[in-house]
Symmetry: C2
Subunit: 362 residues, 2 copies
Amino acid sequence: MERVYNFSAGPSQLPLPVLEQAQRDLVNYSGAGCSVMEMSHRSKPYQAIIDTAQATLRRIMQIPDEYEVLFLQGGASLQFSMVPMNLAKRGQTTAYAVTGQFAKKAFEEGKRWGNAVAVVNGKENGFTRIPDITADMIPQDAAYLHITGNNTIYGTTFNTLPETGNVPLVCDLSSVILGKEFDVSKFDLIYAGAQKNMGIAGLTVVIVKKDKLTDDLDPIIPTMLRYKVMADKGSMYNTPPCFAIYMAGLVFQWVEQQGGVAALEKINTKKAGLLYDYLDDSKVFHPVADKKDRSIMNVTFTLPDDDMTAAFIRMATERGMINIKGHRSVGGCRASIYNAMPIEGVEKLVQCMKDFEAGQRD
Amino acid sequence: MERVYNFSAGPSQLPLPVLEQAQRDLVNYSGAGCSVMEMSHRSKPYQAIIDTAQATLRRIMQIPDEYEVLFLQGGASLQFSMVPMNLAKRGQTTAYAVTGQFAKKAFEEGKRWGNAVAVVNGKENGFTRIPDITADMIPQDAAYLHITGNNTIYGTTFNTLPETGNVPLVCDLSSVILGKEFDVSKFDLIYAGAQKNMGIAGLTVVIVKKDKLTDDLDPIIPTMLRYKVMADKGSMYNTPPCFAIYMAGLVFQWVEQQGGVAALEKINTKKAGLLYDYLDDSKVFHPVADKKDRSIMNVTFTLPDDDMTAAFIRMATERGMINIKGHRSVGGCRASIYNAMPIEGVEKLVQCMKDFEAGQRD
């Protein structure tokens, strides 16, 4: 099969030039005599790879010097535990905006450590919109407010960040990081699994304000789950996920070559616009997320019944567009259109929707 | 530079046919229309990859049905915490054989959770030999005895397993798994970072007896650190390190094609023998590890002084043999000769040692 358009929510499509470069260098990296996969993480060539990856990410996100960048393992799911363990004392109040399934998981893990409270819970409206959050809703003694910047499953997003008063803001940006511009200085901690917009599964990027790092943690907390240890060791307290960091570095370079995050945001907005404009007019396809909270990364929509949904997914698949089936908890369809999805892929999907809808009228 | 012989302790040399196959399939895997790196972990093609990897590992290690095989993240270092959290109640006695630096790290992490006691501590002899362990040395109420099967830094190994009485045996096999045969049924839990004999960094394999798995754990333990959750979800509670699992699957297939672990053990024994035989006769190079405890995976040796050590490392590097510098805590040299190191690489190293020694006599 030719290369497909892959609308998977993650792991997801990677930029073709990135894959091609990784392929060229796979057996013998840049004259090093071995693959990146075979390099000692303590070697000079590998140190250059991880340093370059970090420097590039700092440039493209304009990360201020007072933030550490960590390359960790365990996905966002392990951050659900590392955040409270590192930022809150045991039993301390922590605040969560429960705006989707992953937000709920973060909240549940938060309860294992602190006195986690949900300041909003979007479950009653099926997580199709982002409830308003104002500072007076947040306990001002909370160690942090945790939000999920973009809800992959429902296709909703925080188009404006909540005002938290004096409470530090922690954000899971897994499915939108590098897809649009963020002012890092608004956050105390950002984390993101790499397998959507940054690279491949097995790498988690954490961007944390240095004044949040401390060795004064509960002794029960494993060394591997301590941000300060990882920061002090340049993310190499133990062997890091070397190849995943290398791939992320290639993606960061590609982002820069595209004109940076601002340029990609422009294209992403256009891509999402093509889909939402069609959805707003369609008689067959219906958008899931509230208009004001729509994600430019994950576009969710439904069809009138399961048979039509299945027929549409079949038609798209036959045309080389895969993984548009929605998450089982929402049903319908989801088009994840991260940075690496070219506009041609989205145009092809809209054409397919038009053709499908026309077929329904015949 | 041509492909080198890479004696790194890990990440380390991979079989060339494995790298070449990964390279061929990198952009478009087996007609799937995308890279393995881009596949949804919930897709059929990826499920086949992880299932095949597990089935192959089960065959080559003859893992009995009453054991689960888990593909996790975080390296051996995270297992240092997961083992006590899952196998011991908080404050319960746990026993450790401290036979090297990683063993000591496991012991230190064990103290965070349980009443960890060191049944032996090889530090006084510089970790150059494995102290004898008998059942009467192990508290019989301990949740487990933890041993490090092979000590990468010192080049020592448990050539016979300790008798533990009724105490379950837990073993870090990171640097020797698949390098020689082990009877899995002797262990209650085995874990190994993949980046030595199994594949690339970012994947940890855990082989655990099913009767050790329980949901009845302290609520403070993160979901991500619970073996039972990972077992119930087929290692996919969250997105697994997909590409690292794929690479491990390729390595497992390669092991099988070589005639399995028994055949590789034979070659590994021969490879190590070439080095140890030379070291035992040399006037310049001296083996570090006690004869009875020598590792067939990591061969450690010293030269009379730092200048000679540096000169030898330079000579080896010029001949295309890299990463033979010993760990900073031991000094000298270390040749890690895992499965993927061909016998030609070892012969070339021995020849280099001979030439160096001859040069010293001139």
